[in-house]
Amino acid sequence: MNGKKEHYTDMFQWAMLVLNGIAVAFLCTFIYVTTNRIRANYDARDFLGRVMTIPDNPRTNLWLCLILFGLLMVNFVFRYFLQMRNSRGSAVSLIVEMLICVVIIYRLDFNYNGLLLLVFANVIAYVKDSKAKMAFLLLAIVGYLLADYELLSIYMPLFNMSDYVSYYTFTSQQWLFCIWNTMISLNIILFVGYCFSVINLQRGTIEEVNVLYHELQNANEQLSEYADMAEKMAQTNERNRLAREIHDTLGHSLTGIIAGLDACLALVDVAPQEVKKQLKLLADVSRDGMKDVRRSVSELRPDEMERLSLNASIRKMVTDMGRVSDTQIYFDGGGEKLEFGEDEENIIYRVIQESITNAVRHGHAGQIWVTLKRINGEVLLEVKDDGIGCKEVKSGFGTRHMKERIEMLGGTVAFDVQKGFKVTAHIPIRWGESYD
């Protein structure tokens, strides 16, 4: 649809070019032919007595104007087919065109300045840079106002086409004026039509951009819905897996333990030896269950934690995060090597991960400092950033999760929203304790 509109605009431009060519050729030829006629009729002296002035040499003028207009057309065609839009080439071409027009108008003693409308039209079409367009247009408008025959003939002697027309009989004069004025009007009409088509074209483009923008927005919304859905599905899957796991391991063991304990209750008075044996068996089952639980938990651990130590995992996460989010993240893991239980490691890891994610996503932080060290038998975990922070701590940022996790380890956590966002957690650690 836009292609069709553009086609109309081009058509107007070509029509103006052709019409202006005809007008220039008509004027020059008319002056030349009339001059010859006056000379042939020996009316020259009489004619000179009636004019303001005459062109230097009508024949030279005719050729010069035709050649110049030819050059103008070549220039136009070059520009059109080479598609020199908004390049330096098109600027040069437009300046050349303007100069040619000025020379032709000057040679015709300002009897025809419609050529400037052609320049206007081309400036509108080719100059996209708004500053350059304004400069060109200003030049063309000033030119159009100044290149007015009636105005200039006050200041300088200019030959007048009407003087040449008045050499003919009254009827011929009427026809000549009719043809000439039609050409001038047609040129203006074409120019107005051209302007309309350009406006139309530009309006079309704006509408198209709007439509595309809406489509893009819809797609974005859909995409985020998909992402939410995918997250929920992952959560559901995880829950299902946990349920299965609990059912398969803990449920299995507990079922066995309950059954065994019931048997023990029945036997305890009858055969205490048997009970003892049975309890030993149940202890084994419980240990196996414990192993299963441990295995299940270890399956939930992050990949890094499987392979690396806590410090190394955190470092890796910090590096990865820094790389993907364009944020500087500094990690201070303290001097000594700290030993934690797996669940402690998991929680510390998750808290740090959540804090960094929050700092990047909500705080738009440029720098993040992570500190993890031992103070008075406790572990101090601190994550602070230089981001925008927030007015008050909202539980939506995953802070409730963090709090819950740390409380599970019997620790405390505090959030500070001045100067970015700061998470401070104190966690009592079961140093060296084990489940065994």
């Binding site: 006056i38 020996y42 020259a44 040499n57 030279t60 070059f78 080479l82």
Partner: protein
């Protein structure tokens, strides 16, 4: 990459265009330089002139010798009557000569439409050129507005022809050079007589003396210099017209014709210096005025003026579109400013030189004397110079010719039909003013 490609194409196109232009210029630049000169055949002064080419030919020979590689070409065979149209046709086609003669009736028109080159710049640049060497009146005829558009080539003052035989017969002395209207009226009154007693006057005082002659000698002007208003109702003009009526009244309604003059029956008649020279020399001397002795004096002075008469000047100018400005100026200067060439005017033409030094020289008197019979007195260079210098030159503006023709016919009507001069001149002034201001 594409932009580079485009740039190459544009550069090639520009180069091609420049080559074409250069080629055209080169083509135009080869071959001998030809300077075109436009002139008419015959005299500008309505007298026969067989030698009009002699001066020009000599000037061309000298010019070509001084400028090797330059040829001067002129169009021969254009009679004076056709010259204006011939030149106009050339001008219209943009093919006018580089240097050309311009008639007085064309000068203002051609200057106004920008065909004549403004010479002020060339004059200013030329250190050898001293405008003071020209008669001021002759130089002024080449001015349009405040600028010099043409230089004078040959000038012809109007003189008063005196029939010596008639005056001697009537016992009247030849008037002095500073005579006035009253003296002339007195002589005219005394000589106007019916000789054969048939009741019809057959001896007259003056013929062909018109109101313009009277206005000029009465210090009058007809038009303002810029051609916007006329002075027809001014005292100097009204007095002049009244003087003409006074003279006409002597003839009791009879018309004085050229034949009466040729027959030796008229005492005075204005005639040009060109006519003076033509009819003083063989063979024209025999054709006319053979049966009486005659001479020339100045015009009589009016109450408010001097012994002033109109001076006609043949002008030469340069085309505003010439490409050989320097050469054209040199050639124009040779024709109008060179004393040797200007002296030739007395040998081969009927006018007078426009240079003071030439016209007032003893050489000029010798040349003119040589063509005359012995015993004839030659007009002195001093007197001739005075007449030219003080001569009246008409202002130059576009409507001058038409406005003057209109005034002349209306005043002719006033005189013919005995209309009241004072009131009718006021009406005429208003009419002419409205024409001028159109």
């Amino acid at each position: 990459m594409k932009a580079l490609h485009n740039r190459k194409i544009i550069a090639a196109a520009v180069l091609l265009f420049l080559l074409l232009v250069a080629g055209g210029l080169y083509d135009a630049g080869t071959g001998p330089v030809v300077l075109e000169f436009g002139m008419f055949t015959g005299s500008n002064w309505n007298v026969a002139n067989a030698n009009s080419f002699l001066i020009i030919d000599e000037a061309i020979a000298r010019f070509e010798a001084a400028h090797p590689g330059v040829k001067v070409h002129y169009y021969s065979g254009v009679p004076r009557e056709e010259y204006s149209e011939w030149l106009s046709r050339k001008i219209l086609a943009g093919e006018e000569p580089d240097v050309f003669m311009v008639l007085g009736s064309d000068f203002d028109q051609f200057s106004s439409i920008g065909i004549m080159k403004n010479l002020d710049e060339l004059i200013g640049q030329d250190a050898d050129f001293d405008a003071e060497k020209y008669f001021q009146s002759a130089l002024n005829t080449g001015k349009y507005g405040d600028a010099q558009y043409a230089l004078p080539y040959e000038t012809v003052p109007t003189l008063m022809f005196v029939n010596q035989t008639l005056l001697t017969k009537e016992g009247i002395e030849i008037p002095d050079a500073d005579w006035n209207w009253d003296e002339m009226y007195d002589i005219c009154r005394r000589v106007t007589r019916d000789l054969d007693g048939d009741g019809i006057l057959d001896q007259f005082g003056i013929c062909n003396y018109d109101w313009l002659d009277a206005v000029y000698s009465n210090g009058g002007e007809i038009f303002q210099a810029d051609g916007k208003t006329c002075y027809l109702a001014e005292d100097s003009v009204v007095e002049a017209v009244k003087y003409i009526r006074q003279l006409n009244e002597l003839y009791q309604g009879q018309k004085v014709a050229q034949d009466d003059f040729n027959g030796g029956n008229v005492a005075f008649m204005p005639l040009t210096f060109a006519e003076y020279r033509t009819y003083k020399t063989y063979p024209y001397k025999i054709k006319r005025y053979a049966n009486f002795k005659w001479d020339c004096i100045t015009m009589p002075a009016g109450k408010a003026g001097g012994n002033v008469s109109q001076v006609d000047t043949l002008l030469m100018g340069i085309s505003a579109n010439t490409r050989k400005e320097e050469l054209a100026w040199e050639f124009l200067k040779l024709l109008t400013y060179d004393e040797e060439i200007q002296t030739q005017i007395f040998s081969h033409s009927q006018g007078a030189s426009v240079l003071r030094a030439v016209t007032q020289s003893a050489e000029m008197e010798a040349i003119v004397q040589a063509e005359m019979e012995e015993g004839e007195t030659v007009i002195s260079g001093k007197l001739l110079g005075k007449v030219i210098e003080e001569g009246y030159t008409a202002p130059q503006f576009k409507k001058y010719e038409q406005a003057l023709a209109l005034s002349d016919s209306e005043i002719g009507e006033i005189l013919e039909n005995d209309k009241t001069i004072d009131s009718n001149m006021k009406i005429l002034q208003r009419t002419i003013n409205s024409y001028l201001q159109q």
